[in-house]
Amino acid sequence: MSQRNPAISKGIDWSLVGIYLILVAIGLTAIFAATYKEGDPVIQSFLNFRTDYSKQFYFFVIGAVLALFILLTDSKFFAATANIGYLLGIIFLLVVFPLHSRIKGTESIIKLGAFNFQPAEFCKIFVALTLAKYLSRPETDFSKTRSQLIAAAIIFFPAALTLLQSETGLALVYLSFFIVMYREGLPSVILVAGFSVAALIVATLLFEKYTLALILTILMVMVVYFNRRQFKRRKTLLPKIIFIWVVCVGIQLYAVPFAFKHLLKGYQVERIYSTVGKDIPKEYEIAHAGESVRRSDSKKDPGYNVRQSKIAIGSGGVFGKGLLKATQTRYDFVPEQRTDFIFCTVGEGFGFTGSIVLLGIYIIMLLRIVTIAERQRSIFSRSYAYGVASVFFFHVAINIAMTVGLAPVIGIPLPFISYGGTSLLTFTILLFILIRLDADRQMVLR
């Protein structure tokens, strides 16, 4: 590598670049396998830009050019323009509302000529940069609640706008930035509380609500009983326990049903329930009875996508059926298999072995990014690196978990592999900014 232009190549983490290229190659292969029909003229369609795999290839080329530009950019530029970028991102998100095109069930896309442009997707870059910028300010003391709230606001504002564009999945991605905040000193209690609430919500889905209330009460009584000796020493303990019990029962008896009835849409309720494998309770069904059903192209019952996806992956066996012999993905049994369900192609075509190899590549990439983050001298670079790791982690984990039936179906792409220009470019930019910052890790950015 030393023969290359030292100005660009110096300090670049080639392992990440290598992983990037491998993943893009896997992605192109998978898209090819999912969309190729017997007898298609491969080379011809590749050149005339008709097929998905050729489009994806051209996006890769555009991404590579962008990556080159990023590597040529001064690393200070990113920190300097972070706030302006954030503002630009928000403007784009707002512009979408009057200008979005009518593409199936989403209000987040602007059509620019032949390309669909999705601000909600690439806004992540600006949020990651801005959050890093805020956390790295010398005057920010992240142990203060005020700072924590400001950081949360930076995340939630674009998330809320994305949610308004009916892109629940992309909005949820912003939750991953809590990992960055955790690394920078967010009290563990908040994360523990967050996880507890999540666990409670899942439990609400699984148990009948009064049964669950009874279980919670019994737990409370047991905790009180085992700690009875400590109440004298710690006066606030008993009220705290009772407060937690009240909050839990409140969430479980009132907040969750309220959210299911009034905040979530009918199809979302269906998807959530189909993930835990239960029927929707009558009261929610009645609450959503009047809605026009948005089932996009997932026909039949809400569990259809996931069932077909599980069948496709499950039928792959140990070594898979081979690239073009995968019956489920090749003959369109899995909806959205080029985009959100692209993992099925890998799972069916290359089996358990292929799936584990792909998971392995991702985990190597994530651990590598964390390692890179920890070797940064500047808080900006470190926070940004954690931001990238968090976003990738959330995308990979939730996307694959959703295809294997472990998470509800929220439409988010698999980084570098799912078909989609905006997502490929977004992830490319995210990664190469990190590589650029890492190349200058000896510098302290403010």
Partner: protein, 711 residues
């Protein structure tokens, strides 16, 4: 910033790894532990299409195809994809109403689920086929046309020999569980189609196809590596002479009865006519069901194969066998004479048995002139033979002769529904319900000596008996199929390769009987049916019979019987004919018909002198009055539009009535007869049920029982 948070990087790494391990665990479960997803994937994407091979053809002795295949088309529906078509237009094309449309779709769903194709209408008529084919693109997702080869009958003859194909029902599927039939398949229900189903059906093939999300076929799976070629059904080569078969059916038109002709040297059946018959083409194709129910309720019972499935008292044709027994037992010689003063008084004057011509007879003339008294005396001597300790053992000895001659048991012909007939045994008479032990003697059943009363035979048995006499002491089990293309894989023909020599009887005894039978044609009861240039040995029979009508025994017109073989030296054909309720003698109808058949078979043409006889036979209408009455009753039923309900009832009954017999090839001799199945006037319990008057009446008609008295 504080460095102490660095430990959190480890927690974050741990979080990443744990989540990925959970996902890997789920992948391990889905892809390696659980086999169900692979199976579900196959169900999703793989279509196993059964390829039906064409059924085997049937050829006659001159290698002419007498049972062939032709193509028709079934309209298939896949209910889940038939939604959203222009139903009204579709119904107009199919000439049905929307209610019927819905009914058929629901039936299809029940049969094969809504994802799989089922038959919407089988064997489209040419007009419907043309209309549908032209417009099929409009219903392309839900409907398609499937080729189905159906049977065709180039000669329009032999319907009862070939039998017909029917859709298999649950009973059939249960019986043939291991043979790969599925609901909706067709299988042979009667006749050769049923007996040789195994070889005629061929081996089904499978084509493994890949389909997509919308059930559209995308090509073959793994380049057809898993496909199984269909193997065409094997052809059958029969001993039938289709010309003679057609000729026989022509001669028997407007008559009830049957003709069976056997090649005595091979046991091969040359012709097997059952009349009235039907056009076999009626039971293939689009209107199959309708025709079937029409034939089924037809008072003339055209679906009944009378040659094997009807039994009669043999009448005087039985005398040939009695002569063999008498000579072999030594109770008479060819020189023994008995005289008849007008009747047989051997059992006292109260129960005389009349004979035609008074006089003194020895064996040859007794056969020639069919003297009742002579054979009553012969059998009396056989039964009262002092060499036996009691009547049971002497009757048993007589039984053994009869079994040896092929009576009293199923012969094992390769056409199903064969009856065994009846030879009265000591047990039969000892039954307390009948006479009881010690309460019977020869005089009780003296009419058996001339082939009336308790003895029952099928036309096939009589023809076989002729072959036995013609061969002078052996026969081969009569059969239609001589050989199977590619070999007899299932051993179906083995029993037809063996000469049966049931007992050693010297040729001289047969010669004596032949003499008498030749005399029949030359100056006896069959003299009117002589054929110039062919030495025929024959025997007439005039069979008295009764029918049960409303519980009363009513005498019916006589059956006309004739059996023969020809030529006497080196016989080529053994034949029998019965014309039911013709009201005249054996020599009146059965003999001329038989002689015409013999002449046609041996000379290939009918001599000019006999054209008149031929025409008279063809044109005589001998449908029995009782049957005519029944037909008129059915017609009026039809006019009263009650037939609709009748048809439905009948169709339900069809299944259990026309089921093929469990084991048509059972050939063992049964000395023990079931207790009440042979009681007179009761009919066979198996065939008569209390279903409805109509059915029972017809059963009686078919089974009219034979009288107890003389010829």
């Amino acid at each position: 910033m504080p460095v102490f948070n660095q430990s959190r990087s480890r927690i974050i790494r741990l979080l990443f790894i744990v989540v990925f391990l959970v996902i890997a665990g789920q992948l391990f479960y889905l892809q390696i532990v659980s086999g169900k997803y692979r199976r579900m994937a196959d169900e999703n994407a793989i279509l196993r299409k059964t390829i039906y091979p064409p059924r085997g053809l049937v050829f006659d002795r001159k290698k002419r195809a007498i049972l062939n295949n032709t193509l028709t088309y079934d309209l298939m529906v896949t209910p889940s994809q038939a939604k959203g078509i222009d139903t009204a237009f579709f119904c107009r094309l199919m000439e049905i109403d929307t209610a019927e449309f819905r009914k058929r779709v629901v039936t299809a769903i029940i049969k094969n689920s809504s994802q799989k194709p089922s038959v919407f209408e089988a064997s489209l008529s040419p007009q419907k086929f043309a209309r549908i084919q032209e417009n099929l693109w409009k219903f392309h997702n839900g409907f398609y046309l499937q080729e189905r080869p159906i049977r065709s009958y180039p000669y329009n003859a032999g319907a009862n020999i070939f039998g017909y194909l029917g859709e298999v029902d649950t009973n059939y599927l249960k019986k043939h569980a291991e043979e790969g039939y599925v609901s909706g398949d067709y299988a042979g229900m009667t006749g050769l189609e049923a007996s040789y189903e195994k070889v005629l059906m061929g081996e089904r093939g499978t084509q493994v196809l890949i389909k997509d999300n919308f059930n559209r076929i995308q090509g073959s799976y793994e380049n057809g590596a898993l496909d199984v070629e269909a193997v065409a059904g094997k052809n059958l080569y029969t001993s039938l002479d289709i010309d003679l078969q057609e000729y026989g059916e022509k001669l028997m038109s407007n008559k009830v009865g049957s003709i069976v002709a056997i090649d005595p040297k091979t046991g091969g059946i040359i012709a097997m006519v059952s009349s009235p018959t039907y056009n076999p083409g009626l039971l293939t194709g689009a209107e199959r069901r309708k025709h079937f129910s029409e034939l089924y309720i037809d008072a003339r019972s055209p679906l009944l194969n009378r040659a094997v499935n009807a039994s009669y008292s043999p009448g005087s044709t039985f005398k040939t066998l009695q002569a063999l027994v008498g000579l072999q037992d030594g109770v008479i010689t060819t020189k023994t004479t008995f005289s008849c003063s007008g009747a047989f008084y051997g059992c006292g004057s109260s129960k005389p048995m009349h004979c035609l011509d008074a006089g003194t007879y020895y064996l040859r003339t007794a056969i020639t002139h069919s003297c009742n008294t002579y054979f009553a005396n012969v059998m009396q001597r056989v039964i009262n033979n002092p060499k036996f300790p009691n009547i049971d053992s002497s009757l048993r000895s007589w039984n053994n002769y009869m079994y040896a001659f092929g009576l009293g048991h199923k012969l094992g012909v390769d056409v199903p529904t064969e009856q065994s007939g009846n030879i009265p045994t000591p047990e039969f008479f000892n039954n307390p319900k009948r006479y009881g032990k010690g309460h019977w003697n020869f005089c009780t059943f003296r009419s058996v000596s001339i082939g009336q009363g308790e003895v029952n035979v099928t036309p096939l048995q009589v023809a076989n008996e002729m072959a036995y006499i013609a061969n002078k002491g052996w026969y081969i089990i009569p059969h239609i199929v001589d050989s199977i293309e590619g070999g007899d894989e299932f051993g179906l023909l083995e029993k037809y390769r063996k000469k049966n020599v049931p007992m050693e009887i010297p040729d001289s005894i047969f010669e004596a009987v032949h003499d008498g039978m030749q005399g029949v044609m030359e100056g006896g009861t069959g003299r009117g049916s002589k054929v110039e240039g062919i030495t025929i040995c024959g025997k007439t029979g005039t069979v008295e019979n009764n029918a049960v009508i409303k519980g009363q025994l009513v005498k019916q017109p006589n059956h006309s019987f004739f059996c023969a073989f020809a030529p006497r030296e080196n016989p080529k054909i053994a034949i029998m004919c019965v014309v039911e309720n013709s009201g005249r003698y054996g020599g009146s109808y059965a003999a001329p018909i038989t002689s015409l058949m013999i002449e046609k078979y041996i000379n290939d043409t009918i001599s000019a002198k006999r054209i008149a006889v031929e025409e008279r036979m063809i044109n005589t209408n001998l449908i029995p009055p009782l049957m005519m009455q029944e037909m008129r009753r059915m017609d009026s039923l039809k006019r009263n539009k009650e037939t609709d309900n009748e048809l439905k009832k009948e169709l339900k009954i069809i299944k259990d009535t026309l089921q093929t017999e469990d084991n048509p090839t059972e050939g063992e001799i049964k000395s023990e007869k079931s207790k009440d199945s042979n009681l007179p006037f009761k009919g066979k319990g198996k065939r008569i049920s209390s279903r409805d008057i109509l059915d029972a009446d017809r059963q009686r008609l078919l089974k009219n029982k034979n009288g107890l008295t003389r010829i």
